[in-house]
Symmetry: C2
């Protein structure tokens, strides 16, 4: 019998795929997926299937998968729900390894007809050689295998260390788009929809052993086999972080989940206990899921809770200290020598040089500013340096108060000091005001963000999100120590 | 004796001001303030004061305020701390109504010297005719009076209904910049720093009766006279919403507050009781303060808790319903007729048409989409319509799937339906992915945001912020009903 790993490798790195339901109408999901695969640069063979056409986008089209004169590793199906059972049957006959059913119109509709169709599907694949993902899903994104998700957004071609498995197709797509822009890179992403055959546990089991995956992120509304899932999550959390966003935790959310993927979302209390017991990391929403995954991607070693905060503005310092403490971080006083050293570099008045550091003015000369960051980080009490920047509009907004060299050296200060300190750094780069005149500042913000991510400095848009992600990172490593 | 209103009107609408400490060096705070006032278009007389110069920015410069051959309503002081008492003494002699002391270096330093200087200042002004704001503050922004805050960001010239009083100068500036870009407009903004003479209670007392101010927002770290403040807040909350962000609620935050404005921030528990008892609205940070103020600015009438959610994507629907319920809103089932009507307009599969509505595809024809919004809002169970939009990148991103007319009609749908339904609408316009290639989508996002704000539709970047602000709006009106 093939083991889980070899078996799933075919799903993620197929040599040949069939796209059933691709048509000349490019707005249709089947054709959009074909187009997306071609654009993404899938290297294997692609066989469009449609009984009414002989060619699509320059590729020969087959009337049925049975006519394809080749083995097929994965079939993607996008035909109306009532035609799905027949098409799946053909795939089973053809001994195709995996079927991904994009089509919706099954149990998630809540209608008898949809439930019956889904039962019919299950009978066809149950216990057989061919395994099925979906229905009602967006499929698989695996840069290493040249596969991308429906409907075909432009995802990174390079592989990364984050896997994402999602009951929701739309959220799989949004996660990838949003996370991509914050610097996340992916190993495998699977939208598994109604989880009729292959479910979250099957995918999890594979990802635990997948050497390419260092972090597992999940969006789930319900689970099919809770005992198995619980066992696997416990196993997973001991070898790599598992970050879970549970949708449908509230009563209305749970009702909505039912009509989304036919899921029974389960009691809030049960889920709270689940997070306590398993070591899985709870994410509070899409942003949180991305934020937490990002810090695990960029920080390789565990760290302590003591942060140094460097910012401009006393209110900012107060608010930042509040936010850190709320999320369980600590903002300890510096050693007296640290304060003395910073004092020699900072402006004389309007400052507070204990931790949190309020530098008073955004116009501290950049060389002094860089040195201050370094001194704060090197304080023996400090584990992590947090640098707050909200003054992009002052440097790149309507009016410019400094020259470009000054601005560049200021905003890239964390990059300059990164090599001389071995402690982790987080940049908090506040969003620019939402005005059209601020688009230049926004452009610079995005450039600065990219440069920091490239050297391994996570960037967050506010202190709350940074503190929350860092706290989850630390808590996970504490969990590992307790359970080692 | 002059009453509070007539008296403070001179602070906000001075006929003549002196700027003490303005110099030829334009980087200095005094000169920057002078420059800012000129740019902002202050219509009254401006008298720079500096014993070492005869002219600054084309204005005649006086050696001392005593030499100014005119009455002076407000003097702004920006000289080194140790010179402040002498200068203030001159202002008192000159019978200037208000002194705004920008200078820092007083009790907030925690040093004996600073505390002594502050005591000296207090002795000079205590109980006298001249009143003092600060020290260690950024002053006053009042578009109606032509005044702006230090250091001189470009604030709106038109007046609005939101007042903001802030212990922190930096946060006063950041609040105005950030809030401006989200559509907030201001009556009066005061950064009052160390609150040596004029404090939060004095300002509050004025704002309660200020006809221009409909909403009072505050950032406070500490209060000077808690009994008076409590009484005034109770009085204020009964006539207009008072939204308070309390800085320094945690232990470290409180420590930071002490070195910011010399404030004793007070126990967390006391503040919790304060919010429960007074009807003041608690904001959890700068964004929250702006979000809550915005909904009060744009929504004039009270509304109920039942929201209709229209979005694209089942996961989005689940997550939105979760967020609404967490903040105490309700997402009730529509009446059967509403669902039937929407069904005739939505695509046939991949949708969920109960509330929350998942339209399945972002490519619903805009006329049908507009009609769906209208039908959902008109359901008799619904109080507020929430429209979620995350698909800007699909329409204005790397690839464009629709023409401009389609996109425009889709994204402006809430504006189109606004006139035909009398219920409040909120647009949730998700931020675009943070990539340089997405700057065009970001530009469109900002344009769409502006257009909605203009017609009275608040715009938030995610469902959590929208739900939180709406819940606070509703809770305040419930408080008013209970206390009427």
């Amino acid at each position: 019998m093939v083991n889980n790993q070899t078996f799933f490798d075919k799903l993620f790195h197929p040599k040949s795929v069939a796209i059933i339901g691709a048509s000349a109408k490019l707005q249709k999901f089947g054709s959009r997926y074909l187009d997306a695969l071609l654009n993404f640069g899938f290297k294997g063979k692609i066989y469009p299937v449609n009984p009414t056409t002989s060619e699509i986008l320059g590729l020969k089209c087959y009337k049925s998968v049975k006519e394809i004169p080749d083995t097929v590793d994965v079939a993607f199906i996008s035909v109306p729900a009532h035609l799905v059972p027949k098409v799946v049957m053909d795939c089973v006959d053809k001994k195709i390894n995996f079927i991904v059913v994009f089509s919706s119109g099954f149990s998630e509709t809540g209608l008898e007809e949809g439930k019956k169709l889904e039962e019919e599907l299950l009978k066809i694949v149950k216990g057989g050689f061919t395994r099925l993902i979906g229905p009602n899903c967006f499929g698989v994104y695996c840069p290493g295998g040249g596969l991308t998700l429906l409907p075909g957004a432009d995802f990174p071609r390079e592989s990364g260390s984050v896997a994402f498995i999602s009951q929701s197709g739309g959220l799989a797509e949004r996660f990838c788009i949003y996370a991509r822009s914050l610097g996340l890179r992916f190993s495998k992403v699977v939208s598994y929809g109604n989880a009729l055959d292959i479910n979250e546990s099957d995918l999890l089991e594979y990802l635990i052993k997948d050497p390419e995956t260092r972090i597992i992120a999940m969006y789930i509304e319900s689970i099919k086999d809770s005992k198995r899932f619980m066992k696997l999550i416990k196993e997973a959390a001991r070898v790599k972080p598992v970050v879970i966003w549970k949708g449908g935790l509230t009563e209305v959310g749970s009702k909505a989940a039912k009509s989304h993927t036919g899921a029974i979302a389960g009691k809030k209390e049960i889920w709270h206990a689940f997070f306590r017991q398993t070591g899985a990391i709870k994410a509070e929403g899409l942003e949180d899921l991305v934020d937490i995954s990002l810090i695990f991607q960029l920080f390789s070693k565990p760290c302590g809770r003591n942060v140094a905060i460097i910012c401009v503005g006393g209110g900012m310092a107060v608010a930042s200290a509040d936010a850190c403490e709320i999320y369980g971080l600590k903002v300890p006083d510096f050693q007296p020598e640290t304060v003395e050293k910073i004092k020699m570099l900072a402006q004389p008045v309007g400052v507070s040089l204990r931790n949190p550091v309020d530098l008073g003015s955004p116009f501290t000369p950049p060389e002094a500013y860089q040195e201050i960051l370094k001194i704060a980080a090197l304080d023996p009490k400090i584990d992590v340096l947090m640098v707050l920047v909200w003054h992009l509009p002052l440097f790149y907004g309507e009016k410019t108060f400094v020259d470009e060299d000054f601005a560049k050296k200021t905003f890239e200060a964390p990059i300059y000091v990164k090599n001389s300190i071995k402690k982790p750094i987080i940049l908090i780069l506040y969003e620019t005001p939402l005005e059209l005149e601020m688009l230049n500042a926004e452009k610079v913000r995005r450039e600065i963000k990219n440069k920091h991510i490239e050297v391994g400095i996570p960037v967050y848009p506010n202190i709350e999100r940074a503190a929350r992600a860092l706290a989850k990172f630390i808590e996970y490593h504490e969990f590992l120590r307790r359970n080692s």
